[in-house]
Amino acid sequence: MEHPAFVQHAVLLSLVLFGLGTLGVFLRRNVITVLMCVELMLNGVNLAFVAFNRAAPGGTLDGQVLVFFVMVVAAAEAAVGLAIVIALHRHKDTLDVDAFSVMKG
């Protein structure tokens, strides 16, 4: 069926995507872009789950089920996160992460 090296390379790709997402969270200053970078990190994790599940002995599907639940939580996170972004934009009229420092110690 598929090439045996696919699983190993999929894990590598998931690492790269997670690293790029982490980099984006630090680099970008727009709240919505930061949320999108978090989605990128979640996708890296999902790919790792699918790849490791493909190599798991015994024909278990637990990795796939976990990906399903990660997707559900990501959808909920995006809905609530974007609602918070709308509320923040109404307060400060900007989306710059540095503007939201009311609770800074």
Binding site: L17, F26, L27, T33, L47, I86
Partner: protein, 163 residues
């Protein structure tokens, strides 16, 4: 043929992820993220997970990204402005990303992890449904519906205008 598709999608995913984090205009970032998600869906399909591949397009590229684009266009987001102190932030980000890569890659090397795909693997939608609705996961599955309801109510409560 499979190998070409796999590595082409992987390269496309990495390039569009670079566009996501390198782009100043959030709208372009969102479109690049859609490309990443779709190419990841191809990779899920090639790894023998058709159900996850379909969910990736329907839920992520369909629902979640439409929500992101809707908010971006609702708030009329402009390009990100230049700001001082970006160098330190970039260094911190690169350091964090490298540490993540090193920790996980080092872990796999130390454990001498050999990832070999198993011969008999069936992740069809029917098999997924059997696992998902088995006694093992049924209550977790039902709990996610409560989570979705809570997120719905929370989103409406947070985003509405103060009376």
């Amino acid at each position: 043929m499979d190998a070409i598709l796999f590595y082409a999608s992987a390269a496309l995913a990495v390039v569009s992820a670079l566009v996501v984090i390198g782009q100043r205009n959030p709208i372009y970032s969102a479109f690049a993220l859609i490309v990443t998600l779709c190419s990841l869906s191809v990779i899920f399909g090639l790894l023998g997970s058709p159900f996850i591949a379909a969910l990736q397009v329907i839920v992520y590229a369909g629902a979640i990204m439409v929500l992101f684009l809707f908010v971006l266009m609702l708030l009329n987001v402009k390009r990100e402005a230049d700001a001082p102190g970006r160098g330190g932030r970039a260094l911190g980000g690169i350091a964090m990303a490298l540490v993540t890569l090193l920790v996980v890659q080092g872990g796999t090397v130390l454990l001498r992890f050999q990832l070999v795909p198993v011969a008999e693997f069936d992740a069809s939608t029917q098999k997924m449904a059997r696992v998902l609705f088995s006694a093992h996961f049924l209550y977790v599955f039902e709990a996610t519906s409560i989570l979705i309801l809570a997120a719905l109510v929370g989103a409406v409560a947070l985003a509405r205008k103060e009376p």
